[in-house]
C-alpha cells in the first residue's frame, strides 16, 4: 500500500506545532498501525532526520499507553480497539491519514504525538482505592460472596485502561467516563462500600481541579472507548456523587 501521512510535529510543550506530510510506500496490510509508523521512523532515521515521537508499549491493547487521534477519531476507525491493535488492512491504497495527539488542556503535549496524562494519576491518588493495608491480614477471600452479575459489572468497569480516549473524544474534554469506571467498580462491590461517598466526592473534585470539562452526556466517550466502558457508569457516578453531596459534610 502507498499512503500519505499528515503527522502533527511539535518540539515541546511550549513550541508551536504543525502538520508535516510524509509519503510511505510498501506498507503491508498485515502490519499494525504502529508498525507502519515504525517503518516511517526507520526511514527518517536512515535519512538522519528525527523520528516521530509517539507513546506505545505493550502493543496488545492492554497497557493504555498508545494514544493517537487518527483521522479525527481516538484510536482510529475501528470500534473497541486501541491504536496498537488497529491494522493497516483497515485502510486503502492511496489513503491520506491524519495523525494527531490527544487534544485537551489537561493533557499537555510533551513532544509530537506524546502527551502528559499524569492528571489521571492524581485523580486516582485522590480516591481511586479501597483503604485496606497490604498486610494480607484480611478475611478469607470466599467469606465475601458477591453475586456474579455485580462481579461481572465491576469487572467491566475495571477494564478501563486509562488511555484518555474518552477525554480526546469529548467536546468538553471531560474525563467523567474514566472517573466513573473506577467509582463504579468499587461501588458495585461490598469491599468498596465504606468509603464510597468520600471516593466519589474526592475523585470528582480532583477531576475538576485538573481542568477537565463537565459531562454533557453526548456519549462520544463510550463510542470511542477502546474497552467499550458503558455510559451507565457515569449514571452510577452521578447517583453516588449526588447522594454523597447531600449526606456528607465534606
Amino acid at each position: 500500500m502507498k499512503l500519505t501521512l499528515k503527522i502533527w510535529r511539535q518540539k515541546d510543550e511550549h513550541s508551536k506545532g504543525k502538520f508535516e506530510s510524509y509519503q510511505l510506500d510498501e506498507v503491508s496490510p498485515n502490519s499494525s498501525f504502529l508498525e507502519m509508523l515504525d517503518q516511517l521512523n526507520e526511514r527518517l532515521i536512515n535519512d538522519k532526520k528525527e523520528p516521530v515521537v509517539f507513546d506505545h508499549d505493550c502493543r496488545e491493547g492492554i497497557c493504555g499507553t498508545c494514544s493517537l487521534y487518527i483521522n479525527g477519531q481516538p484510536h482510529g476507525p475501528d470500534r473497541g480497539v486501541t491504536t496498537c491493535q488497529l491494522h493497516m488492512r483497515r485502510f486503502k491504497d492511496g489513503d491520506t491519514i491524519h495523525i494527531e495527539p490527544w487534544r485537551a488542556k489537561s493533557f499537555p503535549v510533551i513532544k509530537d504525538l506524546m502527551v502528559d496524562r499524569s492528571a489521571f494519576d492524581r485523580i486516582m491518588s485522590a480516591g481511586g482505592f479501597i483503604s485496606v493495608n497490604t498486610s494480607g491480614n484480611t478475611q478469607d477471600a470466599n467469606n465475601i460472596p458477591i453475586n456474579k452479575e455485580d462481579a461481572d459489572k465491576a469487572f467491566d468497569a475495571a477494564a478501563c485502561i486509562g488511555c484518555g480516549a474518552c477525554v480526546a473524544a469529548c467536546k468538553n474534554a471531560s474525563a467523567m467516563l474514566f472517573v466513573s469506571a473506577k467509582v463504579s467498580q468499587f461501588a458495585l462491590l461490598p469491599q468498596g462500600q465504606p468509603e464510597s461517598k468520600q471516593r466519589a466526592l474526592n475523585m470528582v473534585r480532583q477531576h475538576d481541579k485538573e481542568g477537565f470539562g463537565n459531562c454533557s452526556n453526548t456519549g462520544a466517550c463510550e463510542a470511542e472507548c477502546p474497552k467499550e466502558i458503558s455510559l451507565e457508569n457515569i449514571a452510577r457516578l452521578n447517583r453516588e456523587y449526588i447522594g454523597a453531596s447531600l449526606t456528607t459534610d465534606a
Partner: protein
C-alpha cells in the same frame, strides 16, 4: 561480596515462620528515617512500594512508563495460582510447592519455592479485599481454572485480564500512598546506574526521559523490580520498552547474574507475519483448557493448508494428529510450556507446520470439540431435547465467548480470522525469563542493600515456570516477603541519617552515565538501533532459542561479540540528549542486551544437560525428551562480571540441595 543462600535451618514447612521470628525489625517510629528506592512498578515493585510506604518508610518509585499502571504485568492474561483448594481437588501448599519444583525441572531452591506456595493463599485474600474483580461462579464464590503441568484447578482469574486487574489493585494501593506523600513517584524516569558507597547500595542515577536531565537519588536500600529480559530476542511477548538495563547495571556493579540461559518460550502465540513485525502476541495458556492442539497427519495436507488449497476445517478427524494428547496422555494439551513448545517445534521441523510464512512455523489450536461439548451441555440445561447442530454450535460459541471473549477478539483483530469458525494458528514465542539477578533467601543480591524481586530475580521457577505463577511470585515478593526481609537489613540504618547525593561516589557514577550517553548521541554511525536489535534477535532465536547445541552456541558467542563492536562503531542516534529522545533510550537498552546475549550463550554452553526451557540437542532421551545431568549440574550458575569482555565473566556455583523432594525424570506421560 557474600554468596550464601542464607536458607534458614529447620524443617521445610517451618523455615519461613522461624526466619520471620528471628530477623530484626525497624520500629514504626524509626521507619521515616529510612529511604528506599524501588525501580519498576509492576506487580513486584508496585506491591513492594505500597507495602513499604504503608509501613512508614519513605519510598521513591521509578518507572520508565508514563504511569505505574502501565507496567507490563498488566498484560498477563490467564491467572494467578494459589493453594486454596476451593475446588476440593486435594490441593495443598505441598502440592503447589511440588508442582513448581517439578515444573522447574528440579533447578530451583526448595526453601524459596515452599515459601512462595505458603504465602500464595494470602495473596488472593489480599486482592479480594482491595476490590480485584476475580471471576466468580453463580453462587458468588471465586472460580478457578487449570493451567499446564498440574492436575488441580488452582488458578484464579479475571477473564483474560488477570494481570491487568491485579496490577490495577496494586496501583490503587500505590496511589493511596502517593496521595499521602509516602511514595514519591518518578514516572518517565529510567535508572541508568547504581551508586555504591562503602560497599552498600546507596542510590541510583536516573534520566528524566522528558527533560533529559540526569538526576541523583539516594536511599538506604535499592530494590530492583524491573522485570525480565525477553526482549534480547527482539521479538517477544514483552512490551516494547521492557529491558534489562537496571538488572544489568547492578550486575556490572557486582551483583551476580544467575542462570541467564533459562528462557521460557510460550507455546501459544500468534505466529510471525512479516519482517516489519515489532512484537508477538500471546494467546493465554488458559485456552489450552478448551483448545486442542494439532497438525495434519499427512504431510501433503500440511502443504495444502500452507498453500491455501485446504482449510484446517477440511481435514477429517482421523487425519489430525493431536500430538500432545498422543505423546502425553496424562496431561494432554495441558503439559508445561517448555514441553508444549518443543513438541510444536518438532512437528514443524518435520514439515507438518501449517502457517504460510517463511518458516512454515505454526500449528492449530482448535476449539470445535469444546464448542460442541459445551453447546450440548447448555442445550440440556435449557431443556432443549433434540438440539440441532446449529443450536449446539451457537450455544457452545456463547460459552466460549463468556470465558475467553477478549482473547478471541484480540486474535481476530490481529489475524483477520474468526477463531469461532476456524482453528487458531499458533506458534511458540519468547515470553518470560526464569534467569535473573542472583538473590539469597532474603531476596538480596550479592551487593549489600541491593534487593531484587519479581521476574528480575532468578529465585523461584528453576529452569521452567509454570503458568499463572509469575503473578503469584511478583505479589508474594512485594507484599509478603521483601517487606519483612528488608527490615532485617535496614535495622542497621536507623541512625545513619540521609545519604548525601554530593558524595564523590555519586560524581563518579554520574560522569560515567553522561559519558556513555554522549558517546551514543555523538557516535555518527549509519545504522539505526533497531537494525542491531533485530540482528541480535535473530542470532539469539536461531542459536540460543528453543533448541541449542555446542556448535551454534560457540558461533553465537563470537557473532554477538562482533555485532557489539559494530554497534559501537556504526550506530546512529538522532537528536540530542537534552529532551525526549526515544532512540537514545532504545540505544542504551540494546547496548546492554548485546552484553547479556553473550552471557546467555555462554551459560547455555556451560550447562551440558537439558532441563526445562534449556534444551541442548546433545542431551536428550531416546524419546526426544530433555535429559538432565543431576550429578554434575544440580547447581545455580551465578556469573560475576569481570570487565568489558563478557567472555571473562566468572562462574560461581550454588549447589542445590533437595531434602524434601526426590529428583526424578520429569514425566507428563
Amino acid at each position: 561480596m557474600t554468596f550464601q543462600s542464607k536458607t534458614p535451618e529447620g524443617p521445610l514447612e517451618q523455615k519461613w515462620r522461624n526466619h520471620k521470628s528471628n530477623i530484626r525489625l525497624v520500629a514504626p517510629n524509626n521507619r521515616d528515617r529510612i529511604d528506599v528506592i524501588i525501580v519498576g512498578t509492576g506487580l513486584a515493585g508496585g506491591s513492594a512500594a505500597a507495602t513499604l510506604a504503608e509501613q512508614g518508610y519513605n519510598v521513591k518509585a521509578f518507572c520508565y512508563q508514563d504511569s505505574p499502571r502501565r507496567a507490563h504485568s498488566i498484560a498477563a492474561q490467564g491467572g494467578i495460582n494459589a493453594a486454596k483448594n476451593y475446588q476440593g481437588d486435594n490441593d495443598s501448599v505441598y502440592r503447589l510447592f511440588y508442582d513448581t519444583i517439578k515444573g522447574g525441572d528440579y533447578r530451583s531452591r526448595e526453601s524459596n519455592v515452599y515459601r512462595l506456595a505458603e504465602v500464595s493463599a494470602n495473596i488472593i485474600d489480599q486482592c479480594v479485599a482491595q476490590g480485584v474483580p476475580f471471576g466468580r461462579d453463580y453462587g458468588g464464590l471465586l472460580d478457578n481454572r487449570s493451567f499446564g503441568g498440574v492436575q488441580v484447578s488452582r488458578t484464579f482469574y479475571a477473564k483474560g485480564q488477570t494481570g491487568q486487574q491485579l496490577l490495577l489493585g496494586c496501583y490503587s494501593a500505590m496511589s493511596r500512598q502517593i496521595g499521602k506523600g509516602k511514595i514519591k513517584m518518578y514516572n518517565r524516569h529510567e535508572m541508568l546506574d547504581l551508586v555504591i558507597v562503602d560497599g552498600k547500595a546507596r542510590g541510583i542515577i536516573a534520566r528524566n526521559l522528558i527533560t533529559g536531565e540526569i538526576e541523583r537519588h539516594s536511599a538506604h536500600a535499592v530494590v530492583i523490580a524491573s522485570g525480565g529480559y525477553g526482549n534480547v530476542y527482539f521479538l517477544s511477548t514483552n512490551a516494547m520498552g521492557s529491558n534489562v538495563t537496571a538488572a544489568w547495571k547492578i550486575h556490572k556493579r557486582g551483583a551476580y547474574f544467575a542462570n541467564p540461559c533459562y528462557v521460557q518460550i510460550h507455546p501459544t502465540c500468534i505466529p510471525v507475519h512479516g519482517t516489519n513485525q515489532s512484537k508477538l502476541t500471546l494467546m493465554s495458556e488458559s485456552l489450552r483448557n478448551s483448545g486442542r492442539i494439532w497438525v495434519p497427519k499427512n504431510i501433503e495436507d500440511a502443504k495444502a493448508i500452507r498453500e491455501g488449497r485446504k482449510k484446517g476445517s477440511d481435514i477429517p478427524e482421523e487425519d489430525r494428529d493431536y500430538y500432545l494428547e498422543r505423546r502425553y496422555p496424562a496431561f494432554g494439551n495441558l503439559v508445561p510450556r517448555d514441553v508444549a513448545s518443543r513438541a510444536a517445534k518438532e512437528r514443524c521441523d518435520s514439515g507438518y507446520g501449517i502457517e504460510n510464512n517463511e518458516t512454515n512455523e505454526g500449528v492449530f489450536l482448535d476449539f470445535s470439540t469444546e464448542i460442541r461439548k459445551k453447546g450440548r451441555e447448555a442445550a440440556f440445561e435449557q431443556g432443549i431435547s433434540n438440539p440441532t447442530a446449529d443450536q449446539i454450535r451457537k450455544l457452545g460459541e456463547k460459552w466460549i465467548e463468556a470465558k475467553y471473549g477478549n482473547l478471541f477478539q484480540m486474535y481476530q483483530q490481529i489475524t483477520d480470522d474468526n477463531p469461532y469458525k476456524v482453528p487458531m494458528k499458533i506458534y511458540p514465542a519468547v515470553h518470560y525469563t526464569m534467569g535473573g539477578v542472583w538473590v539469597d533467601y532474603n531476596l538480596m543480591s550479592t551487593i549489600p542493600g541491593c534487593f531484587v524481586i519479581g521476574e528480575a530475580n532468578f529465585s523461584d521457577h528453576g529452569a521452567n515456570r509454570l503458568g499463572a505463577s509469575a503473578l503469584m511470585q511478583g505479589l508474594a515478593d512485594g507484599y509478603f516477603v521483601l517487606p519483612y526481609t528488608i527490615a532485617d537489613y535496614l535495622a542497621d540504618d536507623i541512625r545513619t541519617g540521609k545519604i548525601s547525593t554530593q558524595l564523590p561516589e555519586f560524581d563518579e557514577v554520574e560522569n560515567n552515565v553522561k559519558t556513555r550517553l554522549n558517546k551514543l548521541i555523538n557516535n555518527g554511525g549509519n545504522k539505526s538501533v533497531d537494525h542491531f536489535h533485530k540482528r541480535l534477535g535473530l542470532i539469539m532465536w536461531n542459536k540460543v532459542g528453543m533448541a541449542r547445541n555446542e556448535h551454534d552456541l560457540k558461533e553465537a558467542i563470537s557473532e554477538i561479540d562482533e555485532l557489539r563492536s559494530e554497534f559501537w562503531k556504526d550506530v546512529f542516534v538522532p537528536g540530542s540528549d537534552d529532551g525526549m529522545n526515544q532512540e537514545l533510550e532504545k540505544a542504551g537498552r540494546v547496548a546492554d542486551f548485546l552484553e547479556l546475549g553473550q552471557l546467555m550463550a555462554m551459560d547455555a554452553l556451560n550447562r551440558n544437560e537439558s532441563c526445562g526451557g534449556h534444551f541442548r540437542e546433545e542431551y536428550r532421551s531416546d524419546e526426544g525428551e530433555a535429559k538432565r545431568d543431576d550429578e554434575h549440574y544440580t547447581f545455580v550458575a551465578a556469573w560475576e562480571y569481570h570487565g568489558e569482555d563478557i567472555k571473562n565473566e566468572m562462574l560461581h556455583k550454588e549447589e542445590l540441595k533437595f531434602e524434601n523432594v526426590e529428583l526424578k525424570t520429569r514425566s507428563y506421560k
